[in-house]
Symmetry: C2
Subunit: 246 residues, 2 copies
Amino acid sequence: MRAEAPCLWSAHLARLNRGAERLGIPSPDPALLRAETDALLIGVETGVLRITLTRGPGGRGYRPPPRPEPTRILALYPAAPDPGRWRAQGANLTLCRAVLGTNPLLAGIKHLNRLEQVLARAEWDDPEIIDGVMTDSQGRVTCGTMSNLFLCGDNGIETPAVDRCGVAGTVRALVLRHAAALGIPAREADIPLATLARARGLFLTNALLGPLPVARVGPHRFDPRAVPAELLERVRDAAFQPEIKS
Amino acid sequence: MRAEAPCLWSAHLARLNRGAERLGIPSPDPALLRAETDALLIGVETGVLRITLTRGPGGRGYRPPPRPEPTRILALYPAAPDPGRWRAQGANLTLCRAVLGTNPLLAGIKHLNRLEQVLARAEWDDPEIIDGVMTDSQGRVTCGTMSNLFLCGDNGIETPAVDRCGVAGTVRALVLRHAAALGIPAREADIPLATLARARGLFLTNALLGPLPVARVGPHRFDPRAVPAELLERVRDAAFQPEIKS
């Protein structure tokens, strides 16, 4: 965020609401949530805002309360380190041993059941590695622990589908939209690890890092020049545009 | 529990420790945990004790803290309703639409990523239905939302394996042990839904309900007399035996 206004507010709010609906949690009043956000951001130049919605208090056991009274948690963190160096050189990723279970019931949602990502993120300690690529239980490339992935080749770009696992990220959606506007063929696909290994170029997306070219995933190297530069620039501009209240 | 002492303490503690180890969370000091439990149970005749272990405070993002300082939460609830009626008639279950994703990484552990169970438990409201049967994403019968299942036939008993999803329950383990002692063949298996539907008898296990014969799963009916009565009696005795501190 910048200038006391959150970036991609509408997109994040829409995703929050879609997830809440699928999980049977009443969505927060958008005006109230924005007012709470604006109050938290007074005097804040840069930072990371995390909004967590829970189902709220309930009884023992798995049964959700018949009329949930959700809890909203707004937390402000220091800005993430600037990824400028990775933008120039390409980021280094590792390949995680931890895999993702698949369940269409939860696929695409940014829910809080993230044990798989926590176990995957515990696999490396090297600060030069900024994320780890995860495959699903059938060996398909799915995402990073905190990012989405786009393969680049002569025929356009491809990203893993998020209908069995993974998160439908806000910057991922920007890539698909801006690729269409630029006439770059872009599609969601099933991507075996072997296909990732053979890709010429690779980039990742994340709401805090924006889009970043990837130089390496474990032993596999990628050519940052194979990543469409204008697309990344447009997506970055769109991702970090503060969204002033309308 | 009864007489101010928890039931199956050693088994629950062992499972807590196995889960913590697999998730990279330091296990609590067993003497400290027992002392905290005993302090909570002073003057308590019956009730439900839930012990929750978290990884403790950490930073933003999925990276676990390098030296976690886990949090222990001990919560005491009123006793669950007596399942005596179901013991006589057999319990009614439903068949859930929500399925379980499979991941050997998390299989068998009683972890807190239970969104699938919460969504499954939201599928019915009828107080005459005490649990719902869940299949995994490949259609294999796995468990109830809060119980394990045992099919009974002329060749002994069968229960779903818990190496891809499910929870290695404490009462489930008692059934396997006591079946062996009684000479009843018992095995873990892959169980398609069609096999469940054809079973003569069915029972469930849960640490609060003990073992209970099942009369019905959706449209499928089971004969409570096909459930080995002596096995259930032995398991029930063992499951509700207060475990005085040694």
